[in-house]
Symmetry: D2
Subunit: 147 residues, 4 copies
DNA sequence: TTTT
DNA sequence: TTTT
């Protein structure tokens, strides 16, 4: 009795960070930017262009595809769902972060135009990803639930 | 060259809070819940039902419609866009909150079944809304931009 | 590199017709109505309300769920894809029909309010469904492809 | 109480045909192709790739933008609604055609890569468009309704 | 803080 | 052929 659906078409902000759970399941995370067009209101006010950053999370096969084929700057279409999770910051205070769990992905950048080469030269290290302070992924038991 | 689209169908968590900018523009906010079904993984793991709360923000005519017709418990379909904004908490630290700017709304609860009456008995006061500590709306100049 | 996605929220026009392929796979079909609101143009022209009828097609588990729980008059949310197929009419001329292949369905009519009882009294016969002249389903080999 | 929403991402099949109503309103039509990936069923059956053609209809500003910037082969994202209309064929029999009324469009082909030049060499004639027998547009009064 |  |  419920729908939670997100459709985004934008540009990849960084090469995906991919890590593997003990169960072998891949998880990829990377930011995607969407930009609203600037426009002018009826009263003449200029509303400038505005970029929104979305924290994408991909699991399993999609994460592996992202690891191989998605690069910074690529244009991407995704469908997914919104999910807000909490974590404790350095001071022990509860913080929230909203992420997009991706369940469908279409790559819109032709292979030839992707910055794939540079990514091979500076490979992501799946074994020990540095966790961004902005989007910490805690090592709690739920991490091993493959959803 | 960009798409940022959200589609939600869920239940209203609280009666809308509505305030009016100096320009007379109405802004309504209220939470919407979507609930994933519980399911069982191939390996037998039970993934329980999970409720996600979305912070909806409506402007102008939609806000006025929400003020009149939307009530706690109602089932609602909305389309909108994701927007994350920052604010400073009590300690001066930067915090982020993700909201859904609604641009289309369909009310799915028949008028007869809506909890409209109780809302009349406990009216929201648009003049001096208490701002929730969880989702502070700052009085900065941008508040008067009618977007 | 392609997306074909439909989202509909409307009312079921007739109880589902369900048939079973030789392979045991269930296929359900029924019409869904969506209605545009009437509105007035800037120049004063009245654009009246307009109802659009969509031919839904459901396979497998979704078809079985529809057979059990979906009834004429129910409010339904679906996601699916557009598909146009051709068939030969009585005169041998090629005709086209556009259908919506459903891949997600949310029933929005509470069980208590559904017209389910009458449907039990006038059951659909899956064994020998009459095929509507408007939307003929041909017995070609592709019918046994479970997509 | 109703939603009729289509999201397509695919390739333009022909340069847009644009005509202008007596009121000066522009209407553009062109086909868009979406292609399902081929896949293999659990039982080993190969389901081949399949292309779906959608009849897009754009009005007013969107039609003018399409006239200037959309070309055969371009990749396009659109949002719109499904609409089926009837017309009488040569024999006087009633036929149906399903079209997508576009209300949002994002062009995904970089200008430099678009086949824009050839379109200038073979311009569409807005004054007297030949009406395709497949998708006839009748000159009925409703044509002057700008919706 | 909602609903099934 | 549905619903408001």
């Amino acid at each position: 009795m419920s729908v939670n659906k997100v459709i985004l078409l934008g540009n990849v902000g960084k090469d995906p960070e991919v890590r593997y759970l003990d169960t072998g399941i891949a998880v990829a995370t990377f930011p995607l930017a969407t930009t609203d067009r600037a426009y002018t209101l009826a009263n003449g006010t200029q509303v400038p262009e505005r970029t929104e950053w979305h924290n994408l999370v991909l699991w399993r096969g999609l994460a592996e595809t992202a690891e191989k084929y998605v690069h910074k700057g690529d244009k991407l279409y995704i469908e997914g769902k919104i999910r807000t999770r909490s974590y404790d910051d350095q001071t022990g205070a509860k913080r929230y972060i909203t992420e997009i769990f991706v369940d469908n992905m279409e790559m819109l950048t032709p292979k030839s135009a992707s910055s794939g080469v540079s990514s091979v030269q500076q490979p992501v290290t799946p074994a020990q990803p540095q966790q961004s302070p902005v989007t910490p992924i805690q090592n709690n038991p739920a991490d091993d639930l493959p959803f």
